[in-house]
């Protein structure tokens, strides 16, 4: 069984008209980190996920969901 974490970060960010850099500034991380989270390369900590949810005004489970291809 292989689980992956999918996210809607890019859609939600664009909904608010934010760039990766602007979102990064609001949550206090680098733009690289936002980029890697958006691309699914990096799974954020709970703290960062909660900060992203607060800035994007969405619940965490609306931003992230587990995909199980099996």
């Amino acid at each position: 069984m292989s689980e992956t974490l999918l996210n809607t970060l890019k859609d939600e960010r664009e909904r608010l008209g934010l760039t990766q850099a602007a979102l990064a500034e609001r949550v206090g991380v680098s733009r690289k980190t936002i980029n890697t989270v958006e691309n699914g390369v990096f799974i954020p900590s709970t703290i960062l996920a909660l900060k992203l949810a607060a800035v994007l005004e969405r619940p965490v489970e609306a931003l992230f969901r587990i995909s199980d291809p099996t």
């Binding site: 206090g28 991380v29 680098s30 960062l48």
Partner: protein, 139 residues
Amino acid sequence: MNTIELAEQKSRAWAIMLYVLAVLLLAAELIGMTMMRSDFVDGFWLGMAMVCALTLTPWRRWFRPRSTLSRLLDDEGVREHRRISCDAGFWAGLAAALLTAPLAHDAVLGGYDVARVVATASLFAAMISFATLELRASR
């Protein structure tokens, strides 16, 4: 230029510097082991190895823990890259140790040479991996 852009720029420059330092370390090791064994080359290698090891630590946070820029340059994404890189360094070092052990056993290589090969392999793999992950993330 705001802090995010400054962090981006510094991070990219840092990654390129890691490549340069890694290549210099490898060159010092190869030159020292093959062409020119001298105190200067040995000392240069040791100095480079210490600097390279320092680049894999969160030194920015140690020196300036309250700086916003330091925090951005050592956020959780960077810490994850450092962890992955140190993993790569560990496996490269282990492989180098296992490969050189028979040579040391047969006295083809001395203990000092083996230590240098293992340290160089570990640091080179970790730094190249770190720099690549950082540059890939900033695309």
